[in-house]
């Protein structure tokens, strides 16, 4: 038989390593593939933060485990099926993200979640520190305006709270709402980043959902950084976005209180 030892024929001799090869190597060097975790100071007490190759995979308040790393590792294994070993150093950017309240620069391992859950968390990640958005806003922004309840459930399954700030998502009537780690923790986190919770609750009780400025003619959600700059004398209250629009106000481009198409 004639063989043409062409580069293409030689290239066909390239193979992948057999299945299980990586595991075999990792076993031999004593590194069973596992997540690793660190204990870091968070905005509301210490946090256990687990991570792997793909990114950060879990965040949990250390207090929930009596500050015991072993208890956290056990819990992590039950939740993810992966062991968690203490790491020498936290993942790059973690400390900065916790300090600034901006988790957008980190990578996350959300592989156990559905595409919808990932979309919800991705949008939630964009909410700036010190501000809150209603569940309905998240639903609308990811193109599923009717899935408000599903957004709530997805946020309840957030494996990386604090970093993906599900504590910044509140009820559509403006009340603080529930939180997977408990309402007191939600309030502590929001307070730590400068949210005036009492004021938000007062506005919610009065049925006020939007604030406008009669000097700029712009209306915002109450926690928007632009709304907090409105001087009391120029602050106008609205119960609905429609009322604001019909009064000649335009929605803020930062907090997008209504969908884009209503803006024009």
């Amino acid at each position: 038989m004639t063989v043409h030892p062409s580069p293409a024929a030689l290239r066909a001799l390239r193979v992948e390593a057999p299945p299980g090869f990586v595991d075999a190597v990792m076993d031999r060097v004593g590194l069973h593939e596992s997540d690793r975790f660190v204990t870091v100071r968070g905005p509301a007490g210490d946090l256990f933060v687990a991570f792997n190759d793909s990114g950060i995979s879990a965040v949990m308040p250390a207090a929930l485990f009596d500050d015991d790393p072993k208890k956290f590792a056990l819990h992590h294994r039950r939740e993810t099926g992966r062991p968690a070993a203490p790491a020498a150093r936290p993942p790059t950017g973690l400390a900065a993200a916790l300090r600034s309240g901006r988790g957008t620069g980190l990578r996350y391992d959300l592989s156990g979640l559905t595409p919808f859950e990932r979309a919800v968390l991705g949008k939630t990640l964009e909410i700036p520190s010190g501000e809150v958005r209603p569940y309905g806003w998240v639903a609308r922004e990811i193109g599923r305006p009717r899935a408000v309840r599903a957004v709530g459930s997805a946020l309840g399954r957030n494996p990386v709270p604090v970093l993906i700030p599900c504590h910044r998502v509140v009820r559509s009537d403006g009340h603080i709402g529930n939180y997977g780690l408990g309402v007191p923790m939600k309030k502590t986190l929001l307070h730590a980043e400068g949210v005036d919770i009492d004021r938000l609750e007062r506005l919610a009780d009065a049925g006020v959902r939007f604030l406008g400025s009669d000097t700029t003619g712009v209306f915002c959600v109450p926690s928007c950084v632009h709304a907090t700059r409105i001087r009391p004398a120029h602050e106008v209250h609205f119960r609905t976005a429609a009322a604001a629009v019909s009064a000649g106000y335009r929605p803020c481009r930062h907090c997008t209180p209504v969908a884009e198409r209503h803006a024009s």
Partner: protein, 201 residues
């Protein structure tokens, strides 16, 4: 979510935390290392062993590297140098061992690539080619495998073999020419490629 990471990202992972980043490093380079080991040794069992041992040695060395040295690593040449040394040592130690094991036709499992027909044909061609490769002297076989099977650049081959780039190029060309001579048919329709790769004498 992240399927493939660039070499820089993999090395950054190593430098950040060797134990945490080593899995990605093994995944990124297991194909080239295993392919080299298989095409040099000719047996899957031996290739598995050689390739695993390569990464075990690499891990031990990396434990002594500092972060800047890890980031500056030329991964493939560095790893393949280890593979080559391991392979040469074994050849030396096993010089008395009979050769049949390496040339046994059954040693090559079918390659599950294109359609069943093409695959059958390809594996037959491949088996023949593997036999021919085995007949090349080491100083020709290694450069041909590194260049055409694994797909290393000439600079990487030179770095792996510790020779000038020109020498690497010349040995690849000579090896390929020798391979064609071994097939029996002297001047080939693909000879233009030889001219292209050939160095001035």
């Amino acid at each position: 979510m992240v399927a493939l990471r660039s070499d820089t990202a993999v090395l950054d992972g190593l430098a950040d935390d060797l134990d945490a980043g080593f899995g990605a490093f093994v995944r990124a380079h297991s194909g080239p290392v295993y392919s080299t080991a298989l095409r040099l040794s000719g047996s899957r069992a031996e290739a598995d062993d050689l390739a695993q041992e390569t990464f075990v040695r690499a891990y031990r060395s990396l434990r002594r590297f500092d972060a800047p040295r890890m980031r500056a690593l030329e991964s493939r040449p560095w790893l393949l140098t280890i593979t080559l040394n391991l392979w040469r040592n074994r050849l030396r130690h096993a010089a008395r061992r009979p050769r049949e094991a390496r040339d046994a036709p059954g040693a090559e499992g079918a390659d599950p690539r294109p359609g069943p027909e093409a695959a059958a044909e390809e594996s037959e061609t491949s088996r023949a080619l593997v036999r021919l490769l085995g007949e090349l002297p080491e100083h020709h076989r290694v450069p041909v495998v590194l260049r055409h099977v694994v797909g290393l650049s000439y600079a990487e081959i030179a770095s792996t073999l510790g020779c000038p780039e020109g020498t690497a190029k010349a040995n690849v060309a000579r090896g390929l020419r020798r391979l064609r001579e071994l097939t029996g048919a002297a001047p080939h329709p693909v000879s233009r490629r030889i001219v292209h790769a050939k160095e001035a004498p």
